[in-house]
């Protein structure tokens, strides 16, 4: 298949969602990026691979979301001088991905304006690349701290507030550099990468079953989405289909994960506005939800419930009944809490107009997932490329228009209600049959999985080596796109509102510091 009149031939992958891949040359790489910008498509992910062991060279890949599906362009690079044309000029989120690819693999975006390290925090030298095959990733270096040049804002009365990576509360580590005048934020610059743990390197050479467990641990709050995306990738490269019942159970798990996370965020948003009552109520609801996860699925956070070929365990009739009743009860409790939020003048005053991202800005910066839908965008894989079982559930993507903290909060309410409806439908119409089929991965094959997690679209690109083990597995979290947008969301707000804005996005540190 061909897209945008380019000469390269895209090959469709056997995935439930439309995913295409093609090998391109440098000219087509640029041409494709330009065409996709013009068609209002978005960059999903960019990553590099070392394919020298397979007799090839380094390779950089970019995945774009278009109206036709996901297009993956793979560009082989010169092993002596691995450079590729910069695409950050078309897609703002590419900047950090290109820097991460350089730190891990030593492939360079030609013409990139920002050459600072991203993942490399003085743990390894600039000429060492953990993803290259000659390195094990286990090497240890004792290096002095390098200076990291933050962008300085100058002017009368401007000063900097450095926050983190160690915070007063128990949260993940990230450094935030605020340039403020008085209480007003002029600029925020993030530095992440403190939870880099070498997951991408760890995947290499791992057998595909163990890889499924590792993929489920990339970001604990999205374990179902990652496990599904990984399983989808593996099944697509093995050209195998899974039983119908397994698909429905996977969707059930995904929606339950979404509900649990939204409940946690809604409570935390209340707490960040010092409305402690909300935190306790939502924590109670979430705890009940997680306990019933443990009771009926065997794990509170649903880790390892999705496995290659299907799901880990089946659901009995008693469980179906109990889960449906729980969903109904949850809807009633949530309706009451939503009324309290809506009627609370003090809360609304904190939330409305705070941290606003306009729909235009969201498009320009490539905002994705939940945050994008709060800014008037409509993208949701579950409706745009409804794959089974979503195609038969009459799913409606939720959307809000204001793009402020209130919109992101209200969107969470709307999505939970929609997820509860999906859960009831899934439980009611669950097809009979097997829940798992054995998967036999072929050697030297490529696959991809693309799933709408609670935060946004999660992509897993998987490749096997000649022994059928993992040659490369790239996991992409939507936080890559959304962290830079958070920098824009706080501009013009006051410092004291940052925690609320940050929480309304609730992005993953662990999920992108691979």
């Amino acid at each position: 298949m061909q897209f945008f009149g380019l000469a390269c031939e895209f090959e469709p992958l056997e995935t439930p969602l439309p995913i295409f891949r093609a090998r391109v040359d440098a000219g087509q790489w640029l041409e494709l990026a330009r065409s996709i910008v013009e068609a209002q498509g978005q960059l999903v992910s960019l990553w590099g691979s070392d394919r020298r062991r397979a007799g090839a060279s380094f390779e950089v890949a970019a995945a774009y979301r278009t109206a036709d599906g996901l297009l993956c362009a793979e560009l082989p690079l010169d092993p002596q001088r691995p450079v590729y044309p910069d695409i950050a000029r078309f897609f703002a989120p590419a900047n950090r991905m290109q820097r991460a690819a350089r730190d891990l693999l030593g492939i360079q975006a030609d013409g990139s304006a920002d050459c600072r390290p991203w993942l490399r925090h003085d743990a390894w030298p600039a000429d060492y690349f953990p993803l290259r095959h000659e390195n094990t990733g286990q090497e240890r270096f004792d290096l002095p701290t390098e200076h990291y040049p933050f962008v300085r804002v100058e002017g009368d009365g401007v000063h900097e507030i450095p926050v983190g990576p160690v915070h007063a509360g128990i949260i993940e580590p990230g450094h935030f550099r605020f340039s403020v005048v008085g209480e007003k934020v002029l600029r925020l610059e993030q530095r992440l990468g403190y939870t880099h743990k070498g997951i991408e390197r760890r995947f290499i050479g791992m057998d595909v079953e163990t890889g499924a467990r590792l993929a489920g641990r990339v970001s604990g709050d999205s374990t179902v989405a990652y496990a599904w995306a990984y399983a989808m990738a593996l099944e697509s490269l093995a050209h195998q289909r899974i039983p119908e019942r397994a698909r429905w159970l996977r969707a059930l798990l995904l929606e339950r994960e979404r509900v649990a996370n939204h409940l946690g965020d809604l409570g935390a948003l209340g707490n960040d506005a010092a409305f402690g009552f909300a935190l306790t109520q939502f924590s109670l609801l979430r705890e009940d939800w997680l306990r019933s996860n443990a009771e009926w699925f065997g794990h509170r956070l649903l880790m390892d419930r999705i496995c290659p070929g299907g799901v880990e365990r089946d659901l009995g009739d008693a469980a179906r009944q109990a889960l449906r009743e729980q969903a109904t009860a949850m809807r009633a409790s949530l309706g009451e809490l939503q009324r309290i939020f809506d009627d609370h003048a003090g809360m609304q005053d904190r939330l409305v107009t705070t941290g606003r991202i306009s729909p235009t800005l969201a498009q320009q910066l490539g905002l994705t997932g939940l945050a994008a839908r709060a800014s008037g965008r409509t993208g949701d894989l579950r409706s745009d490329f409804a794959w089974p079982p979503y195609d038969s559930l009459d799913f409606k993507a939720c959307s809000q228009h204001n793009g402020d903290v209130a919109a992101r909060l209200n969107l969470r309410f709307a999505e939970v209600f929609e997820s509860l409806r999906l859960i009831e439908a899934l439980l009611q119409r669950l097809p009979e049959g097997q829940v798992r089929t054995p998967i036999d991965p072929p050697a030297n094959a490529k696959g991809a999985g693309w799933v709408e997690g609670w935060r946004g679209e999660i992509l897993v690109a998987l490749e096997t080596d000649e022994a059928g083990a993992i040659a490369r597995c790239h996991c992409h979290d939507p936080s890559w796109q959304n962290w830079p947008v958070l920098e824009h969301a706080v501009i013009g707000n006051i410092v004291a509102d940052f925690p609320l804005i940050n929480k309304s996005f609730n992005l993953s540190y662990s999920g992108q510091d691979l």
Binding site: H159, E160, I161, P162, V163, H167, A168, G169, I170, E183, G270, D272, A273, A274, F275, G276, F277, L279, T280, Q281, L284, H344, G346, M347, D349, R350, I494, V495, A496, D497, F498, P499
Partner: protein, 316 residues
């Protein structure tokens, strides 16, 4: 020569304040937890926290100047003195002439100046941020507090807190519209000054939203214990001043030592009710945007001025 009864009531007051101030904090925390549907920490939790902190090592930053070290003692001293001159049990207080209502506001201001200086002393951005916010609140809260106290002074023709309360307590029961309005203003100021919701959140862990907590981030061990204790004393003092001004019943007058015995349970009952109300306010409100605080305190000031005008124009 100080009469014995006065000496006893003064001593009793100070001991009561030092001993029971953490209890009030514990009570408010407990009520708030219940109202929020949580299981509450024990009533004695603040004492355990103080005990823990006094037994811990105090870590002081290398760049700290002597101001950082002496600030906790000054703050604690100020709050203890405030508790001594506030007529909680009796109006027969030998220390009362030491400071009238204007000096009382001055004592709060002195404590604020030192804690803010200490916060800026280390040079961390959070300390400075907190100090700036604390000053913003302080300079708006102090005039409002003064106006409230002036309304009471006008009614009783005295600026001595003990005399004001003595006069109010022994007047035939009457509702003063001016005092009712002043009482609302006082509540606003008390919420802001004691770092409570909706102005500040005493339970927050978010360093960027803190006011009072940001000021004391660098303190540890006995220094922190003194500051926490002083914060409890401040809440206690504000509660007692409010109760004495607006609900002065049951406070012993001069030369009535037996009335002191009644005064203690009356005070505890009033504080218990006050604590429930504070917890209720903190539960049903969210924290306001920082730049709403000036509006909030301006409202307090306006109400206090209205109280004054009501008294002057209506004589009530």
């Amino acid at each position: 020569m100080i009469p014995l009864s006065g000496f006893v009531s003064q001593l009793l007051e100070i001991i009561l304040a030092l001993a029971f101030a953490p209890l009030l904090t514990g009570w408010v925390n407990q009520c708030r937890a219940w109202l929020q549907n949580r299981s509450a920490p024990g009533l004695l939790q603040p004492y355990r926290a103080l005990h823990k902190l006094f037994n811990k090592e105090s870590v002081v930053a290398e760049s700290a100047s002597p101001i950082f070290r002496i600030a906790p003692y000054i703050v604690f001293g100020c709050m203890a003195l405030v508790c001594a001159i506030a007529p909680t049990l009796s109006t027969d207080l030998p220390l009362a002439p030491a400071a009238d209502t204007i000096a009382l506001v001055g004592l709060f201001a002195l404590a604020r100046v030192f804690i803010s200086l200490a916060a800026m002393d280390i040079g961390t951005s959070f300390g400075t941020l907190g100090a700036r916010r604390e000053m913003l609140i302080g300079f708006l809260a102090e005039p409002a507090l003064l106006m409230v106290l002036f309304s009471a002074s006008l009614i009783t023709q005295s600026t001595s807190l003990a005399n004001i309360v003595e006069t109010l307590a022994h007047q035939p029961f009457a509702i003063y519209p001016s005092l009712a309005v002043a009482g609302v203003a006082f509540t606003f100021v008390a919420l802001a000054e004691n770092a409570r919701v909706p102005v500040d959140n005493p339970a927050t862990h978010l360093e960027l939203t803190m006011i009072h907590e940001a000021l004391i981030l660098e303190y540890s061990g006995r220094h922190l214990a003194l500051i926490e204790w002083a914060a409890a004393l401040k809440l206690f003092a504000y509660s007692c001043i409010g109760l004495a001004l607006f609900f002065p019943w049951g406070i012993a007058g001069a030369g009535t030592p037996l009335a002191m015995i009644v005064a203690i349970p009356v005070l505890l009952a009033k504080l218990a009710i006050g604590g429930v109300l504070l917890a209720l306010i903190e539960t049903i409100n969210a924290k306001m945007r920082l730049f709403r605080v000036p509006e909030f305190l301006a409202t307090a000031f306006l109400l206090a001025v209205i109280a004054l005008l009501v008294h002057v124009l209506l004589g009530a």
